[in-house]
Symmetry: C2
Subunit: 317 residues, 2 copies
């Protein structure tokens, strides 16, 4: 079914200036058969900006824009399609009438990247295609062996796995403050929004809502990798939060800890007067979800739960 | 004016497998407050893929998809907006009824990037915001001084310049073969297309049309940085080509050479039975265009010339 767009496009926001001096001028032949160019690396660099792409459908039914913040090692592309080629959550929410804003966080995707390690404080982490199989709770062993947990919803056939891995990008563990600042600049530019954040994005979702609570009208955390600042829980009083967790957590090496942190933080936010709903999908009879819920075969079913929750908060009409 | 989309989304294509062995397993704390994860860097890497985003409007009037291939140091975002926030060529051609496919070439944007320098053969070139001012024929001196060539069409105010620079990404000079192979995979997946390529993209446009002439129905080269292979000019016999050049070329240090190579190659293609139209915008009374024609204030005027040319080749109805 077609969708009518009133506006669409992209922009970059955030970042700061860095001055570089004392480096040698050199000559670069950018393209074979071109002409050499003089490159003076000294000057002004813009570091720590991010990219965002927006689509505004008509009729518009979301009361505010809905932002999709990706997880670590990924870009905004993770919301645009699933590894088996179905429509992503970007499509789902656009079809519901939300203005959808998909971001590429600092040093990833179209945000570009910068001088490494001078501006990043370290080298990025790069892993092989075998790595996320167990970590994202697809199955034991390796993708080549192909065994999955019972009832697995992630499209784990070899072709889909490769399609997923192609979306993966290296990630830094040293750029969190830059990323948070850029999300602040994004919220500032777009204005008050509902934020849907996955995994590492959940860390920035919590932190951004604590820093700029007037800009985050609702926060949906899909398997958030971490929590906010304990000393700032009171800032979240006016921000309704939904946390969603998938299946196979009890048996995982790390996820009981990570989920435990999340649930404890939710308790602390509630104790400070805030509102956090924790949705364990298996407890609702929805089984088989990996860490990559927005890519799982039942991705639209879970998106519908998010949609209902956002509507219940008065953000959709 | 709104646009109706029949389909939209993205995918990754291309690349090859690389096996890594003998590296040390380590522990990584990806996100503060998370739980440490074991990272075994040994295994299989997918290297050299690219990203593409497609939008299919209705009614559809383009006979084939229209691909937009960015230049060096840029990503597909360069087609999505202009530095002063107007609509880009993506919008223009979508509004004309073309299915528009915007790519991010290997090691840039959402294509992701890989282990450096093991898979890239070298480190990328990164330059300061001062660098493209003269090289892209905006003006003499620096952007901070703000002097522009007479009649300059590029939006060169400080805010626009920063918006443009934020789009810039580091670029390799060592990955050309990977990029060409990925464009081949893209053409293979999407099928025969009209290709509009800018600057470094023009190099890949020529080369791709020579390698896969049945997949390139027309080639529009916007200030191509280089040419194709002299020994394969005959392969271009069935591919109509349009080359477009902007203003201020005669006074530039490099562009008389680069344009000269292009015009000489066009002659060679014609001598082999091909068809190449060379459009110097100033000769048509269109003045003030920088190297970044799709971002200049008269970007839609030039896009309309491209549109008319594509229609004259029977590719639009």
């Amino acid at each position: 079914m077609s969708v009518s767009l009133q506006r669409w496009g992209s922009f970059h926001v955030g970042g700061r200036e860095v001055r570089v001096a004392g480096e040698a001028v050199r000559e670069v032949l950018y393209t074979p058969g071109s002409a050499p160019a003089r490159l003076d690396p000294n000057g002004t660099y813009l570091v720590g900006g991010m990219y965002a792409q927006f689509m505004l459908p008509e009729p518009r039914r979301g009361a505010v824009p809905l932002m999709l913040w990706h997880g670590g090692g990924l870009t905004g592309a993770c919301w645009e399609t699933t590894p088996d080629g179905r429509e992503g959550w970007q499509h789902f929410f656009l079809r519901q009438g939300w203005e959808v804003v998909v971001g590429d966080a600092v040093e990833r995707g179209r945000a570009g990247w910068t001088r490494i390690p001078e501006e990043t404080g370290g080298a990025p982490v790069v892993g092989p295609l075998e790595n996320p199989w167990l970590r994202f709770r697809i199955g034991p062993g390796t993708p080549q062996e192909g065994r999955v947990f019972p009832g697995q919803q992630f499209p784990s056939d070899p072709e889909s796995w490769r399609a997923f891995i192609r979306q993966n990008v290296p990630r830094f563990t040293t750029t969190d403050e830059m990323i948070l600042a850029a999300y602040g600049a994004l919220l500032d530019r777009v204005g008050p929004s509902a934020v849907v954040a996955h995994s590492q994005g959940g860390f920035f979702g919590w932190r951004a809502a604590q820093e700029w609570p007037d800009k985050v009208r609702a926060l949906v955390l899909v398997e958030p990798a971490s929590v906010g600042l304990a000393e700032k829980v009171a800032a979240l009083r006016g921000v309704p939060v939904l946390m969603i967790f998938g299946d196979y957590i009890a048996e995982d090496a790390r996820w009981p800890t990570i989920r435990g942190h999340g649930v404890a933080f939710a308790d602390a936010v509630r104790a400070a007067g805030g509102s956090v709903d924790v949705m364990d999908l298996p407890a609702r009879g929805i089984r088989g979800n990996s860490h990559m819920i927005m890519m799982d075969r039942n991705s639209d079913e879970v998106a519908a739960l998010v949609q209902d929750w956002l509507a219940s908060k008065g953000l959709w009409r």
